[in-house]
């Protein structure tokens, strides 16, 4: 499907790290959303969340396939998804957090979508045409996701007293995990210099702007806590990811080297 683009070793290592992050992040969030299937608050939204999950799993597959090509070690998408342990996973922490109630799921989705949308939009200009192509395709999906999650944040924030209180709780739970979305690490720095990925420092104000507008309409206040958790991009996760992977990878681990 993809042909590898040749890069100096250091750049290729960073690019592969980045591709795995994109893949892992989409997969883990898609996996979390898929946990809702059959348990949603109403049939119509059960279906909507499965659509989000399917989009994200589809994106993860594209990123894994490209990562496999750039890594050049003959791995398949499934090798990358199912045979790496938590320390090798590169997803941002936000997406591995448990679903909580529907409000928490919706808010987590919104925080992610607000970043994802602006990031993918900039990523369509990547100097690597494989990356740009996946970004173009994913952007259409992320555009709809952002619309869906923004509207739900507003509805629930400005709905009933109970829903407002639940959204405030969700904000307290999630806020400290949002900083990582737009904080560059060494991989980002190198790839941005190379013109392969956008500068996250330029994405942050766009994210903040989006979040401010939506939370204001939702009558929710942005917490004034500055401390942010990070580590996912470098493989240091919350306790939650290990359990998620144990469940997700169990068949591949229990019956190694099988076709499924």
């Amino acid at each position: 499907m993809f042909e590898a683009n040749p890069y100096p070793e250091e750049v290729n290592a960073a690019l592969s790290d980045f591709l795995l992050r994109m893949a892992d992040t989409s997969l883990v969030l898609g996996h979390r959303l898929s946990e809702w299937c059959g348990h949603g608050p109403i049939l119509e939204q059960d279906i909507a969340m499965s659509n989000l999950a399917l989009d994200l799993i589809g994106q993860a597959r594209n990123w894994y396939q490209l990562a496999a090509v750039q890594l050049g070690q003959g791995q398949s998408e499934d090798d990358l998804a199912y045979l790496r342990d938590a320390g090798q996973y590169r997803n941002v922490l936000l997406v591995e957090l448990p679903n909580g109630d529907f409000g928490q799921t919706v808010l987590r989705q919104f925080f992610f979508d607000a970043y994802h949308y602006h990031y993918l939009k900039a990523l369509t200009e990547s100097g690597d045409e494989n990356v740009a192509n996946i970004a173009i395709k994913s952007l259409k999906e992320a555009t709809y996701h952002l619309k869906w999650s923004s509207e739900w944040v507003i509805r629930l924030g400005d709905g009933t007293e109970e829903s407002h209180r639940r959204m405030e709780n969700a904000l307290r739970e999630l806020w400290e995990f949002t900083g990582e979305l737009t904080t560059p690490n060494e991989t980002d720095q190198l790839l941005t210099i190379m013109g392969l990925t956008p500068d996250l420092n330029l994405i942050r104000p766009l994210w903040e702007q989006q979040v401010q507008v939506v939370l204001a309409e939702a009558t929710l206040e942005i917490p004034n806590r500055a401390w942010m958790q990070k580590g996912g991009k470098n493989g240091v996760h919350t306790e939650h990811l290990g359990f998620l992977l144990a469940e997700m990878q169990f068949l591949q681990r229990a019956y190694p080297n099988c076709e499924w």
Binding site: I42, E44, A48, W148, E151
Partner: protein
């Protein structure tokens, strides 16, 4: 409080150039949500390029009891159809 969301009827244009066609219904709290639910429920397989949603209570339907009075009078107006008229077989483009 009534928490059952109202019922909406969904109409989809399957491709440019065709009419919107009724495909079913769903529940949604407001029009915007109805539109998105219709997208998520009824176009999972790329069934459409355009969607209409109408809250079901706004649809007025003809009464089946009046079906005969409504529709049968059109039966005996064969002169509205082209086959009513005889023209020589040898003529074309008419």
């Amino acid at each position: 409080m009534d928490t059952q969301w109202p019922l909406w009827e969904v109409f989809i244009r399957s491709k440019q150039g065709l009419d919107h066609k009724h495909v079913g219904s769903l529940h949604a709290a407001d029009a915007q949500m109805a539109m998105e639910n219709a997208r998520d429920v009824y176009t999972r397989r790329r069934e459409g390029v355009s969607i209409w949603v109408v809250e079901s209570k706004h649809i007025h339907a003809s009464n089946p009891d009046e079906q005969e009075a409504f529709f049968d009078p059109a039966d005996d107006k064969a002169y509205r159809h082209p086959t009513f008229y005889e023209v020589p077989d040898s003529l074309t483009h008419i």
